[in-house]
């Protein structure tokens, strides 16, 4: 039953109109990056100082101070962006309290009077970061469109930027089957690393009849070391993920949604909680959403530091309050998932793409990317690279463009050796392959994977055997111990690597490594064990020499053995 009164009280178009009118009144916007990275460098104090200066000078009706999600260039934080009417946007990097005071008193306040002619004082130039840098101009922001441009804790601002319009379109003008079809046609594939077609997953989930309950689960257990895409999305634009989940729920007929987020991400959890509360208050969650028959509720469950819980069946066990161990599939969660009920598990970034596809259409989304990998991908670009941070590029962008143009290359004095993608489940891509386009298939061809989006730049000072050991150390530690190939195989491989690293290894150990790796890939129960040997195999493939020089008999010919 549609409740017409309540629908009238909460009209997203009305909210958008009011918020836009409110924003328009301000002549100056100051955006302060307020995500984990910049908060770590002191953005809380900076935000407070700016607010104090604004109120001291009684500028509250002219200057709007916005605490935003991640602006991307984390290595240069804290970042603030200033928009003063008539002037070009200015981005300031690595600001401290003194710098902020100067920026406010010597630039912002004079600029308010100068009407577009205020110059930046010379002593502030060292804090400026050009918005013309390839880091900004070469990116294509779809998922990260809002992050860094709005207050993630204000639902009205999300709505003013087109939020929940996609949900309205889906609920009021489309059937669930049409929604599934749209996502299927867009070519969206799972952004958690597997790359399974999202539309197809939804189709399978929709086909299973809803007897009493069906669940949609958002996988926010981003355990891959060196990756923080999902955290930044949840921190910078939590409503986009909620909206995506609601559209998914409508499409597959889910009755309840669950967010599973790492406990190590307190800020992301807090922002998500606030966003859910705002949705409930505004009747975007609950019964008869937007006056339709669609009823849906969500809840959050926290992880507790187990990497294996990123695997969907382990994640489901963890929500149920048990040890996070995987189980054999089939049955797939779409048939038997959480509490044995049909459940569809989607990654944070996947869900964040959904509302954009619904609004702009499958064809628009499919216009980005390659033949088989559509849309954009968010990467956490880290390691030995000048502009370390969060980036979003169309699929098919080459690694060279990402590392050398957007990332600004390796710091001077060092040389690029390789790029690692897919974290502990992925592999290395040597510099000879730098012109390779980034997409699911190409990465697989060289023995790596897309993964969730960690991209780590390695320079020539790094030793590949140690790097492989670093990753294997991680997976051995995180193995849940349920199946023998992963529990025992991982440990044996690690012992061999250790032996080689101590200069005690022999040629036959390399053969043994490959043998165990093969057994683990074929026989492990879940993705963790199946992919754990990848870092070793891929470094062996491209940098076998580094292994051989460490062997006791590395320089001997076979017959001398």
């Amino acid at each position: 039953m549609a409740d017409i009164d309540l629908e009238k009280r909460f009209d997203i178009h009305e909210i958008a109109k009011n918020k836009l009118a409110e924003i328009e009144k301000f002549v100056c916007n100051i955006y302060c990056c307020h995500s984990t990275g910049c908060k770590s460098s002191g953005s809380d104090d900076i935000l407070e100082l700016i607010k104090n200066i604004v109120s001291e000078h009684q500028l509250e009706d002219k200057v709007r101070v916005v605490a935003t999600g991640c602006m991307g260039l984390c290595a240069q934080g804290p970042l603030i962006r200033v928009e003063v009417g008539g002037q070009k946007d200015v981005l300031f990097k690595r600001v401290n309290l003194d710098a902020v005071k100067d920026i406010m008193l010597k630039y912002v306040i004079p600029a308010l009077k100068a009407q577009g002619t205020q110059k930046i004082p010379a002593d502030l130039e060292r804090y400026m970061l050009s918005l013309e840098l390839p880091f900004f101009t070469k990116q294509e922001k779809v998922v990260l469109k809002n992050a860094g441009h709005m207050d993630p804790e204000d639902i009205a601002e999300y709505i003013a930027r087109g939020g929940y319009l996609a949900l309205e379109k889906a609920l009021k003008t489309m059937t669930p089957a049409q929604v599934v079809d749209e996502i299927k046609r867009s070519g969206l594939r799972g952004r958690g690393g597997g790359g399974f077609s999202t539309g197809m997953k939804w189709e399978l989930a929709a086909k299973v009849p809803t007897v009493d309950e069906k669940f949609i689960i958002c996988n926010g257990d981003e355990g891959d070391p060196g990756a923080y895409m999902d955290r930044s999305i949840l921190e910078g634009d939590p409503h986009a993920v909620i909206e995506g989940m609601m559209i998914a729920a409508y499409a597959i007929g889910a009755t309840e949604g669950w967010f599973y987020v790492r406990a190590e991400y307190p800020l992301a959890v807090e922002r998500l909680e606030k966003a859910i509360k705002a949705c409930k208050k505004n009747r975007l969650l609950g019964n008869n959403i937007m006056g339709t028959d669609f009823c849906f509720n969500v809840d959050i469950r926290l992880g507790a530091g187990a990497f294996v819980c990123g695997e969907e069946t382990a994640l489901i066990h963890s929500i149920e309050g048990a040890r996070g161990t995987p189980r054999p599939r089939p049955p797939y969660p779409t048939n038997k998932g959480l509490w044995e009920k049909p459940s569809c598990v989607n990654n944070v970034e996947t869900l964040a793409n959904v509302s954009k596809i619904m609004l702009k259409g499958a064809d628009w989304f499919a216009s980005f990317g390659t033949e088989t990998s559509k849309g954009t991908k968010v990467f956490a670009l880290t390691g030995q690279v000048e502009h370390s941070g969060l980036i979003e590029v169309p699929m098919g962008t080459t690694i060279n463009e990402i590392v050398n143009e957007i990332g600004g290359g390796v710091p001077t004095g060092k040389h690029l050796k390789a790029v690692q993608t897919g974290g502990p489940s992925g592999g290395v891509i040597p510099k000879e392959y730098m012109n390779m386009p980034v997409c699911y298939e190409e990465l697989k061809k060289v023995g790596s994977i897309m993964g969730s989006g960690g991209m780590i730049v390695i320079d020539d000072s790094s030793d590949m055997v140690s790097l492989a050991k670093f990753y294997l150390d991680f997976t051995v530690d995180e193995s849940c111990g349920k199946c023998a190939p992963c529990r025992i195989g991982g440990r044996q491989m690690l012992a061999l690597l250790d032996k080689i690293n101590r200069g005690k290894g022999k040629k036959k150990d390399l053969e043994l490594l490959k043998k165990i790796a093969f057994a683990m890939q074929k026989a492990s129960l879940c993705g963790l064990g199946q992919t754990a040997p990848n870092p070793v195999l891929s470094t062996l493939k491209f940098y076998e020499n580094e292994y051989i020089t460490k062997l006791v008999d590395g320089n001997l010919k076979d017959e001398e053995n």
Partner: protein, 157 residues
């Protein structure tokens, strides 16, 4: 009996909700800093879950601590970016300065040293976190400075 009531409170809050054991454990640890045997016993009673089930969950997830950590918990990030930028040397410095290994606390109960997987501030690598405060671009030389900062802070208490 403040500690027992903490587990009992968590049990009351989460008992009727589904999939809530881990949430109840988080709630106890958020307040106390750890979850010990007595908490597990109280929680088992309060939530009507077998103790064995609670203990297997408690010991499976490495986020949960079974013993009281030191007043200042030092988390050294061992994510890939921090590894590449030499956080192992920072960890060694912490170990030698404090005379403890990772996973241990100092005898005076002031410091607890632990390694954590990626804290997600890779742009600031190498990173350490002490009681929620993040220190970026670490070098072994910064270590004594940070320890002194916290020793001073505890003196004031």
């Amino acid at each position: 009996m403040a500690d027992t009531s903490q587990a009992a409170q968590a049990a009351t809050k989460w008992r009727k909700k589904r999939g809530s054991l881990i949430m109840a454990l988080h709630e106890i640890q958020d307040v106390k800093g750890y979850v010990d045997w007595q908490d597990a016993v109280d929680l088992a009673k309060g939530m009507n879950i077998p103790l064995a089930r609670i203990y297997e969950v408690l010991t499976f997830y490495n986020f949960f601590k079974l013993k009281a950590p030191g007043k200042a918990v030092i988390s050294v990030c061992t994510g890939t970016a921090c590894y590449l930028k030499g956080n192992d040397k920072v960890l060694e410095k912490f170990k030698s300065e404090l005379g403890i290994n990772e996973g241990e606390s100092t005898k005076d109960g002031l410091f607890h040293l632990q390694c954590v997987r990626c804290v997600g501030c890779c742009g600031l690598a190498p990173v350490c976190v002490v009681n929620g405060k993040t220190y970026g671009r670490m070098t072994p030389e910064n270590v004594p400075e940070i320890l002194n900062e916290w020793r001073e802070a505890f003196k004031e208490d």
